[in-house]
Amino acid sequence: MNYVALKMLFGDRAKYLMLLCGLTFAVMLIVQQGSIFWGLMMWSQASITNLNVPIWVTDPGIAQVDEVKPIADTAVDRVRSVDGVEWAVPLYKGLLRARLANGEYHQITLTGLESATLIGRPAEVLEGRFEDILQPDAVVLDQWAVERMGGPTVIKVGTIFELNDKLARVVAIAKTQKSFTNIPVVYTTYERAIRYIPHERRTLSYVLAKAKDGIPVEDVIQRIQTQTGLGAFTAEEFGWKTILWVLKNTGIGINFGTTILLGFIVGMAIAGQTFYLFTVENLRQFGALKAMGASTLTLARMILLQAFTVGLTGYGVGIGLATVFGYLTASGGSLPFVETWQLLLLVLVALLTICIVSATVSIVKLARLEPGIVFR
């Protein structure tokens, strides 16, 4: 009877397409909104992922990566002295204003890397050589800085600008993940970063560290916290800390959550209702089958097959459309769109749940259906 069920489903093209459109719309809406939401969350921790180091050490009261709480310079040596730490390097991170030759001012995030190792440098360089950062007055910009500060005609390798009245010369353009605030990132060495900024008692923003091979990162983090009194986090923990801060302290969580939830409820309600109506409109046909000897179990299997067929088709088409949307609008990283397998799995489970629920409602109606309906 599977064949009959599928023919019944596909036979009425108008109803089938309406059903498919409802499910596709629901899936597309949830996946698209969910992916944009998650993309934004990824942007919010871009400062962590761009530096790609395993352990972050800083003030224990820190709330999120962009809220820097300077610590004493001695922290680097204290972390290096912890058993199990392979290396530890200083990192400066702070906001500064850049003045271009044309007189424009732009706020930038100054990132100072340890000059000996350049640990935390971006993995990909679009123009120039990152190592040239060791030259006098040299800085490296990310590609978003080029975009924000006037485009490639204004900012390119060789461009000179001022940071706090001191000279900065662009030697390379690096590729990074866009950040939530989209403030241009200027890389330089730690020592030079300290010279650029106004005098402060404490200048060290973070200590970046790595555990020795074979020693669990969690153990090393525990030791750092115990022996130094500082806060230590894995990159993943710090990323989540930042995401949770953004969710709690900005309207993004509520706004996107509401949109996703509404999309989910509306989409699933449309899908469930449409499928239920599809069954109700076919009640006479199901009644005829029941009169001819089809058991309730057989009819239930037919309904479930129809529900899963249209559900999975809608799921595939919906995800396909959402992915195309993401590809067209977010290629190059200019818009946040991160489609994760967890999101796709969640949507699949939700969709199958709504299919089962609407099919169950229909099956209950069919179970109670007197086949005598066919004589009326």
Partner: protein, 239 residues
């Protein structure tokens, strides 16, 4: 032609069926006693609202009765659990409806194959037998047509082929000619009479159509929930 000495395919005793409750309760069948024999075509006639379709549904086991007993082919249908009743119905009965009730998405052959598919017969075999049955009802050139592309008469012939394809011993028909013109109605009834005259089968037809009365062997008149008379129909060419 049948005689009362032939075995009863259907035996209904003191059947009562009511719809609704309290002040709105309507008793549609008020103690029906009826026997239908193998090898006969019984016509159920009477005024509208008299209970014909209700009785037909009860005999077919698709409507529960409130009181009384109905045995079909020796099986106490009215006391069978719903699941077993459904299985029994699928194995022994065929249905022809006034509105045909063909599945619009299926071709004529697929529609006819449905009762076989319900009995879990393989699709290729079911379609083969369905096409043979369509050939028997004169529709061998319409097997791949969907219902909307068939005339009313052709659709009813498909419905008959569907009702006969699993060789049911009891054929239950509700106004099978109501949606057809005179000529098509006559053809359909000739087919049903042929089925009814098989010694191990019987046909029950609910009808208002006096033009087809002569196809029956007996005619039961159901008025206000009671069978007021059963008369044997004089066949053409018999004394």
């Amino acid at each position: 032609m049948t005689t009362d000495s032939q075995p009863a395919a259907v035996r209904a005793n003191s059947v009562i069926k009511a719809f609704g409750t309290g002040d709105t309760k309507v008793t549609v069948l008020k103690g029906i006693d009826l026997e239908v024999y193998l090898g006969e075509l019984l016509l159920l006639v009477g005024e509208s609202g008299g209970g014909k379709t209700t009785l037909l549904s009860a005999i077919a086991g698709i409507l529960d009765i409130d009181e009384g007993h109905i045995d079909v082919l020796g099986v106490p249908l009215s006391t069978l659990p719903p699941g077993k009743r459904t299985t029994f119905r699928g194995q022994t009965m065929g249905f022809i409806y006034q509105q045909f009730n063909l599945l619009p998405a299926l071709t004529a052959a697929e529609n006819v194959a449905v009762p076989l598919l319900i009995q879990r017969i393989r699709r290729t075999e079911a379609l083969r037998r369905a096409r043979m049955m369509l050939d028997r009802v004169g529709l061998s050139d319409r097997t791949e047509f969907v219902p909307k592309n068939l005339s009313g008469g052709q659709q009813q012939r498909v419905a008959i082929a569907r009702a006969l394809v699993n060789e049911p011993r009891l054929l239950v028909c509700d106004e099978p000619t109501a949606a057809l013109d005179g000529a098509n109605g006559q053809k359909i009834m000739e087919l049903l009479r042929e089925v009814g005259r098989s010694p191990d089968r019987c046909v029950i037809v609910v009808t208002h159509d006096s033009r087809i009365f002569h196809f029956g062997d007996r005619m039961a008149n159901l008025t206000d929930g009671r069978i007021v008379n059963i008369e044997r129909i004089q066949q053409e060419g018999t004394a």
